[in-house]
């Protein structure tokens, strides 16, 4: 008999000690020459900040290479000891999360396409029975964003724009709207 998948359940409100006991929000040290801050707020359908969410990111390194043995392309690989590509941040009382990382390089898409630089995002919270998956794209990549197969599969330009971060004086802002007219685009798990 084929094993059937285990269902997802909400992370609930009490995960902080177990999942956020170690700070994993800085993927690079603050003195890294190309360190980049990404900040955002998670909002619910009433427009209120979500103070008990957790955001995780997964990304390639600056050369577009994932720190994973199955990404065996010959691009230069950061020492996996220093760049894991994974980050985790809780939201504070104001619903805010924050990461310090570097901008990833472009990575291959399906069927020989190239994807614009992007960061994979998972959002967990009380009230989310399954986590939500979205992507952060970069505002200074207009041309490669226009060619990106995932971004361009979203027909509504306003909906598409929810995946592109805003440059606020060197800090990238990426807000997550779980619900409502300005809801962020989410992907099937």
């Amino acid at each position: 008999m084929t094993p059937e998948p285990t269902p997802s359940q909400t992370v609930g409100p009490f995960f902080h000690d177990a999942l956020l006991g170690e700070d994993r929000s800085e993927l690079v040290p603050p003195h890294h020459p190309r360190a980049m801050r990404i900040e955002g707020t998670v909002y619910d359908g009433a427009g209120d900040p979500v103070p008990d969410a957790m955001v995780e990111i997964w990304q390639a390194n600056e050369a577009g290479r994932y720190t994973d043995p199955t990404d065996d392309r010959e691009n230069p690989l950061h020492d996996p000891e220093t760049f894991s590509g994974f980050g985790r941040s809780g939201t504070d009382a104001g619903g805010r999360f924050s990461f310090l990382t570097v901008k990833p390089g472009p990575v291959p898409g399906h069927e020989g396409t190239l994807q614009a630089p992007h960061i994979m995002v998972s959002v967990f919270a009380r009230g989310l029975l399954k986590h939500l998956v979205t992507r952060i794209y970069f505002p200074d990549e207009r041309e490669s964003n226009a060619r990106d197969p995932v971004l361009s599969s979203i027909e509504d330009p306003e909906f598409r724009t929810t995946l592109v971060a805003d440059d606020e004086g060197g800090v990238l802002r990426f807000d997550v709207h779980l619900q409502g007219d300005n809801q962020t685009a989410f992907f099937e798990l």
């Binding site: 084929t2 094993p3 059937e4 998948p5 285990t6 269902p7 997802s8 359940q9 909400t10 992370v11 609930g12 409100p13 009490f14 995960f15 902080h16 000690d17 177990a18 999942l19 006991g21 359908g45 209120d48 979500v50 008990d52 997964w58 390639a60 994932y66 994973d68 043995p69 199955t70 990404d71 894991s84 590509g85 994974f86 990575v107 291959p108 898409g109 399906h110 994807q115 992007h118 994979m120 998972s122 009380r126 009230g127 989310l128 029975l129 399954k130 986590h131 939500l132 995932v150 599969s153 979203i154 027909e155 779980l178 619900q179 809801q183 685009a185 989410f186 992907f187 099937e188 798990l189």
Partner: protein, 238 residues
């Protein structure tokens, strides 16, 4: 893309999962997305995923009864099982993080206001890596049921939260493990949010005499099945 999304409503793989909006669980009402989910093609972005080496886990991190000077109060239990993909292949060296209430049904968390005692010898958080067969093992205390504010006289069945990474971004899973025969199942909207009865049963551990250690601790078995890196058997049958 929205239309392709609705074609997949009948996907058995999705059927096992709860919906985002389940009104009986009140917190979903303002947090569930309402716009259709987009399809994400399978690329390196979701078939790769983070790995956590042995450095991430301390030797005693999987024993929640030995994190303090004294022993916690309550019924000592062993929770063990295998983590596999949809083909039954073991998921090796994969991080599992758990958290739970103490035996009185109280979490160490500033927002838990349930008037049940905290246990100075129990923090309720642990982690471990799966071995080469995909097996994991925790020693802990059976958690108590606890009240919550979802509806009048609402109580959560006893459960342990588990967070798993598996081998890829798309394998990520956070779930809850329940205990067999709990009378609260039928009253709990979080458990009931999984509409398929067989799928609900996959969240309930089984008492296991083989795991049980004489004069010491009851054993419970809980196997976990994650999405693999690539296609699952069920997807092949589409």
């Amino acid at each position: 893309m929205g239309e392709q999304g609705s074609d997949r409503i009948f996907d058995a793989r999705q059927e096992a999962q709860p919906p985002y909006l389940y009104s009986d669980y009140v917190a979903t009402r303002l947090r569930a997305p309402k716009k259709p989910l987009m399809i994400l093609p399978r690329t390196l972005s979701n078939t790769t995923g983070p790995a956590f080496g042995h450095g991430a886990v301390g030797e005693l991190d999987n024993d929640l009864t030995r994190q303090h000077e004294g022993e916690p109060l309550g019924e000592r239990i062993i929770v063990t099982g295998r983590v596999t993909d949809g083909y039954g292949r073991p998921i090796r060296n994969s991080l599992i993080e758990i958290w739970q209430a103490n035996s009185a049904g109280r979490y160490i968390h500033k927002n838990d206001r349930h008037p049940a005692p905290l246990d100075p010898n129990f923090s309720g958080a642990g982690r471990c890596l799966t071995d080469d067969e995909g097996r994991y093992r925790f020693v802990t205390i059976k958690p108590g049921a606890y009240p919550w504010k979802n509806h009048d006289n609402a109580w959560r069945p006893a459960h342990i939260h588990l967070s798993l990474f598996g081998e890829a971004f798309r394998s990520r899973l956070i779930t809850q493990m329940y205990f067999p025969g709990d009378p609260l199942f039928e009253h709990d909207p979080i458990f009931q949010s999984v509409r398929d009865e067989k799928a609900r049963r996959r969240m309930i551990s089984t008492f296991d005499l083989e795991t049980t250690q004489p004069e010491w601790a009851l054993g419970y078995r809980f196997d976990i099945v994650l999405e693999g890196r690539n296609a699952t058997p069920m997807e092949n049958h589409r």
